[in-house]
C-alpha cells in the first residue's frame, strides 16, 4: 500500500487563495434585512418563494374545486378560473421553483460547499434578492388592479394575452410582463454571482471534479438560466411594446366585431419560438439543481459513493446543452414543417439518454447501499419514482405522432406535473429536511416528516395518475367546464371529483411540514454540526448554524472528492473532504488515505 500524507498547503503557494473582504454589518437591519451574507439572502429567497408558492397552491385548490365540483362555487367564474390557471403556473415555475433552487439553495450551499467565505459580489447578491422581491410584489399587485391578473395561460400567448376579452388584458398583463423583466434582471445579478463564485472562489484543493453534484447542478442550471432568460426578456419587452406603443411584433391584423384592429403584420408564432426557447431550458433550470441535490441526498443516506460521478457531471452538462435544442416540441400543433417536427422529436428523444443515465446511477448508488430510510432519503426515493414516471410519459409527448392527439389534454398536465412539479418538490422537501439542521442547529421532527412524506407521495400519485387517464379520454386542459361532451363519459366527472379531494388532502399535508419547521426551530433536538455524517464542507464548519464568513479563522483545504463513504478498511464510514490522509484512521493500521488507495 503506497501512501503519502500530502498536505495541500505544502503545495499551494500561501497567498494564492486571497481572503475576501467581508462586509460586517453592525445593526439588526444590516444583518438581517439589507444583508449581504449569502446565507441570510438564501433564507430571504426561500421564505419569499414559499410564501408566493403558497398563494399558487391555494389557486390550484380553487381550480380543482371548479373541476371536481362544477356549478357549486359561485365565486369561481370562467374569468377567474383562467386567472388561477395562469398565475398558478407562472408562480410555481418561475417565482417559486427557480427562485428556490437557485436563489435559496444556490445562495446557501454554493459558498459553503466550495469553501468560500461568501459570494464574490455580496452587494449585487443583496440587490438580486430585493429586485426579486419587487418582481413578486408587482405580480401580487396584479391581483388588485382593474381587471385582475392576466388569464392568458402561463405561456402568455399573443394575440390572446393582450386582446380585450381575455381577463387582465390591460394592467394584469402589463404588471406580469414588467414583473418578469425585473425578475430576470434580479436573477442575472444573482446568476453572475453563482457562476463566478464557483469558478473563482473555491478553496484550496477544491477542483471542479471534487465539487459535490449539488454545486454542479446549480452551476449548470445558472448558466442555462443566464442564456435562456434573455429570450423571455425580449419577448416580454416586445409584447409590452405591442400593448403600449402599438407596435406589431406579435400582433397580426385582426378584425373584431367588424372593426379592423390597430395592429398589422405581427407574428404570434415568433412569440412562441422565443417563449419556448426560454421555456424548455426552464424545465432543466429547475431539474438540474434537483438532480444534483438528490444525488447528494442518496449518496449521504445510502452511505455510498455516488455511482458514476464523472458520468453524472457529463450528463448534467449534456442535458444543459441539449435543452436548447428541443424547444419546438412544445409547438407540434402550431403547423410546423414535418421535417422541423422530426428534428425536434429526435433531439427530444436524445435528451432521454443522459437523463436515463442519471436515473440508472441513482438506482445503482442505492444498490447494496447502507440505506437509512430517514425523511430526506424517503423524499429522494419519491423523487426517483415521480421522475421516472414523468420521464416515461415525456417519451409519449416527445414523439410528434403520439403528441398531436394528446396535445392540450389533461395527459400533458399530468406529465409535466409529475416531471416538473412533484419530482422537484420532492427534492425541495428532501433538501430542506437534510439541511435544516445546518440552517437552524435543530433537527426536524422525524415522525412528522414521515407523515408529511407519505401524505405527499401517495397524495400526488392519487392526483396525477388518474389525470393521465382523463387525458387519454380527451378531457381538455384549461377548460372551465366541459359541459355535456359526448366523447367524455360521465365517470370522468367522478374521477375529477376524486382528484380534487386528493389535491386538497395533499395540500393539507403541507401544513404538517410548515408546523414541523416552525416547531422544530425552537423545540427540535439540538443538532451537532454534522448529524448525517456527511463529507461535504458545509457540514465541517466550526459553528452551526455557520456564522458570517462561514469557516472561522482559516478556510478549509480539500483533500478528496465529496463521496468518500464506506471506504474499505477505514474505521469511519465517511471521510470529510477537509480531512488530510494523515488523519484517516484505518481498521488495522495507523493512519491511511481514503478511497482509491493504491496497492
Amino acid at each position: 500500500m503506497v501512501q503519502t500524507g500530502h498536505d495541500a498547503s505544502t503545495f499551494a503557494p500561501p497567498l494564492e487563495v486571497k481572503e475576501m473582504e467581508l462586509y460586517h454589518p453592525k445593526t439588526f437591519l444590516g444583518k438581517y434585512i439589507w444583508s449581504q451574507d449569502a446565507k441570510v439572502i438564501a433564507i430571504q429567497y426561500g421564505v419569499t418563494a414559499m410564501s408566493i408558492g403558497f398563494v399558487a397552491l391555494v389557486m390550484s385548490w380553487l381550480m380543482r374545486l371548479q373541476l371536481g365540483f362544477p356549478d357549486t362555487f359561485s365565486f369561481i367564474n370562467p374569468s377567474n378560473y383562467l386567472q388561477f390557471v395562469t398565475m398558478h403556473g407562472m408562480i410555481m415555475v418561475v417565482y417559486l421553483l427557480t427562485a428556490l433552487f437557485l436563489g435559496a439553495f444556490g445562495n446557501y450551499l454554493i459558498p459553503l460547499m466550495v469553501g468560500a467565505r461568501d459570494m464574490v459580489f455580496p452587494y449585487a447578491n443583496m440587490l438580486s434578492f430585493w429586485i426579486y422581491l419587487f418582481a413578486v410584489l408587482l405580480l401580487v399587485a396584479s391581483f388588485f388592479v382593474t381587471g385582475g391578473p392576466t388569464g392568458s395561460g402561463w405561456t402568455l400567448y399573443p394575440p390572446q394575452a393582450i386582446l380585450p376579452g381575455t381577463p387582465g388584458a390591460t394592467w394584469g398583463i402589463i404588471l406580469m410582463l414588467i414583473s418578469l423583466a425585473f425578475f430576470i434582471i434580479g436573477f442575472t445579478m444573482g446568476g453572475l454571482n453563482y457562476v463566478v463564485t464557483v469558478l473563482q472562489a473555491r478553496t484550496r484543493g477544491m477542483t471542479m471534479m471534487r465539487l459535490p453534484l449539488t454545486v454542479w447542478g446549480i452551476f449548470m442550471a445558472t448558466i442555462l438560466a443566464l442564456f435562456a432568460f434573455p429570450a423571455l426578456f425580449v419577448s416580454a419587452i416586445m409584447m409590452l411594446l405591442d400593448l403600449t406603443l402599438g407596435t406589431s411584433f406579435f400582433m397580426p391584423a385582426l378584425v373584431s366585431m367588424g372593426q379592423q384592429g390597430e395592429h398589422a403584420g405581427g407574428s404570434p408564432l415568433l412569440f412562441q419560438h422565443l417563449f419556448w426557447f426560454f421555456g424548455h431550458p426552464e424545465v432543466y433550470i429547475v431539474a438540474l439543481p434537483a438532480f444534483g441535490i438528490v444525488s447528494d441526498l442518496i449518496s449521504v443516506h445510502a452511505r455510498k459513493n455516488i455511482f458514476g460521478y464523472r458520468m453524472m457531471v457529463w450528463a448534467i452538462v449534456a442535458i444543459g446543452v441539449l435543452s436548447f435544442m428541443v424547444w419546438a416540441h412544445h409547438m407540434y400543433v402550431s403547423g410546423m414543417n414535418p421535417y422541423f417536427g422530426f428534428f425536434f422529436a429526435t433531439t427530444t428523444l436524445i435528451i432521454a439518454i443522459p437523463t436515463a443515465l442519471k436515473v440508472y446511477n441513482w438506482v445503482l448508488t442505492l444498490w447494496r447501499g447502507d440505506i437509512h430510510l430517514n425523511v430526506p432519503m424517503l423524499f429522494a426515493i419519491g423523487f426517483i419514482f415521480a421522475f421516472i414516471h414523468g420521464g416515461l410519459t415525456g417519451l409519449f409527448l416527445g414523439n410528434v405522432t403520439v403528441s398531436v392527439p394528446l396535445s392540450d389534454t389533461m395527459f400533458v398536465v399530468a406529465h409535466f406535473h409529475m416531471v416538473m412539479a412533484v419530482a422537484p418538490v420532492m427534492v425541495v422537501f428532501g433538501a430542506i429536511y437534510h439541511w435544516y439542521p445546518k440552517v437552524t442547529g435543530r433537527m426536524p421532527d422525524e415522525f412528522l416528516g414521515k407523515i408529511h412524506f407519505w401524505g405527499t407521495f401517495v397524495g400526488t400519485y392519487a392526483v396525477y395518475l388518474p389525470m393521465h387517464y382523463l387525458g387519454f379520454l380527451g378531457v381538455p386542459r384549461r377548460y372551465y367546464a366541459v359541459g355535456g361532451t359526448d366523447f367524455i363519459p360521465e365517470s370522468a366527472q367522478t374521477l375529477n371529483a376524486g382528484i380534487t379531494i386528493a389535491a386538497i388532502v395533499v395540500g393539507a399535508f403541507q401544513f404538517i411540514f410548515i408546523y414541523n419547521l416552525i416547531r422544530s426551530y425552537s423545540k427540535g433536538k439540538v443538532a451537532n454540526g454534522n448529524p448525517w455524517n456527511a463529507t461535504t464542507l458545509e457540514w465541517q464548519t466550526s459553528q452551526t448554524p455557520p456564522v458570517h464568513g462561514n469557516f472561522g479563522e482559516k478556510l478549509p483545504s480539500v483533500y478528496r472528492w465529496a463521496y468518500d463513504y464506506s471506504v474499505p478498511g477505514v474505521v469511519s464510514d465517511f471521510i470529510p473532504q477537509n480531512v488530510p490522509p494523515s488523519d484517516v484512521v484505518m481498521e488495522d493500521k495507523g493512519t491511511q488515505a481514503g478511497r482509491g488507495s493504491t496497492s
Binding site: T4, H6, A8, F11, A12, P13, E16, V17, V120, F121, T188, L192, N193, V195, V196, L199, Q200, A201, R202, T203, R204, G205, M206, T207, M208, M209, R210, P230, A231, F233, V234, I237, M238, L241, L245, T247, S248, F249, E262, H263, A264, G265, G266, S267, L270, H273, L274, F277, N305, Y309, W314, S557, Y559, R560, W561, P581, A593, R595, G596, T598
Partner: protein
C-alpha cells in the same frame, strides 16, 4: 489544465488527489469582475442574437418592408468607433502610467458616448417625422426596440464609466482604477461590435437578406 482534462479527471484515485491537492482554487487567473463581465457579455450577446433572429424570422413574411436608411446612423457609427478608440487609448495610457493622457482619453470616450446617444435620439426623431413612419410596420418597431436596447446598455456602461471616473478623481488606488478602465474598455468594444453587426446587417441596407440568401437560408 484544460477543460477536457478537468472533466475527465478521476478524483477518487490517490494519484489524482496528489495532483488535485496542489490546486489553488481558481479556474482562471483573471480577477472576479473580469470573469463576471465576460459572462455578462455572453448574456447580452444572446439577447441581441435573439433580436436579430426574430428580425430575420419576420423578414420571411411577404409583407416585409425594410426600415428606410438614415445617413445620420453612419455619423453615429463613426462617433461610437471614436469613443471605443478613446477607451482603448485610455487603457494603453494607464498601463504605461501616462495618467494625464489616460484621463483625457477616458473623458473623451465617455463624452463621445453621450454624443452617440444624442445622435441616436436624433435618428429616432428623424424616422418618426418621415411620411413613411408607421409604428405598426414591424421593421420600424424592430429599429426602435433594437437601437433602444443598445442605447440602454450604453447608458449602463456610462454608469460604470462615471463610477470609475469618481474613483479616478479621488486618486485612491491605481490598480482599482486600471481594473475599472480595462472593464469599461472591454464593454465599449463589445457594444461597438454589437452595433456594427446590427447596423451592418439591419440598418445600413438590406444586408441581412443578402447574407441569408448567400447562406442558402432564403
Amino acid at each position: 489544465m484544460n477543460i477536457f482534462q478537468t472533466i475527465t479527471a478521476q478524483p477518487w484515485y490517490v494519484e489524482q488527489s496528489i495532483i488535485d491537492n496542489q490546486y489553488v482554487g481558481r479556474s482562471s487567473t483573471a480577477y472576479a469582475k473580469k470573469i463576471a463581465l465576460r459572462v455578462f457579455l455572453g448574456v447580452v450577446a444572446i439577447l441581441f442574437i435573439l433580436m436579430l433572429v426574430a428580425y430575420a424570422g419576420r423578414m420571411g413574411y411577404e409583407d416585409w418592408r425594410p426600415v428606410p436608411q438614415l445617413k445620420l446612423l453612419w455619423i453615429n457609427t463613426g462617433i461610437l468607433i471614436s469613443s471605443s478608440l478613446a477607451m482603448q487609448l485610455a487603457q494603453y495610457a494607464i498601463r504605461h502610467k501616462k495618467m494625464d493622457a489616460m484621463l483625457l482619453c477616458f473623458l473623451l470616450g465617455g463624452s463621445l458616448t453621450i454624443v452617440f446617444l444624442f445622435g441616436q435620439i436624433l435618428a429616432w426623431r428623424q424616422l418618426s417625422s418621415m411620411a413613411y413612419f408607421d409604428i405598426t410596420i414591424p421593421a420600424i418597431g424592430f429599429f426602435y426596440m433594437i437601437t433602444g436596447v443598445h442605447c440602454l446598455h450604453m447608458v449602463g456602461g456610462l454608469v460604470a464609466w462615471g463610477k470609475t471616473l469618481t474613483t479616478l478623481l479621488k486618486n485612491v488606488d491605481i490598480a482599482k482604477v486600471q481594473n475599472g478602465i480595462e472593464l469599461c474598455t472591454t464593454y465599449w468594444h463589445f457594444l461597438l461590435l454589437v452595433w456594427l453587426v446590427l447596423f451592418g446587417l439591419l440598418f445600413a441596407g438590406d444586408n441581412l437578406d443578402l447574407v441569408l440568401r448567400l447562406c442558402g437560408i432564403r
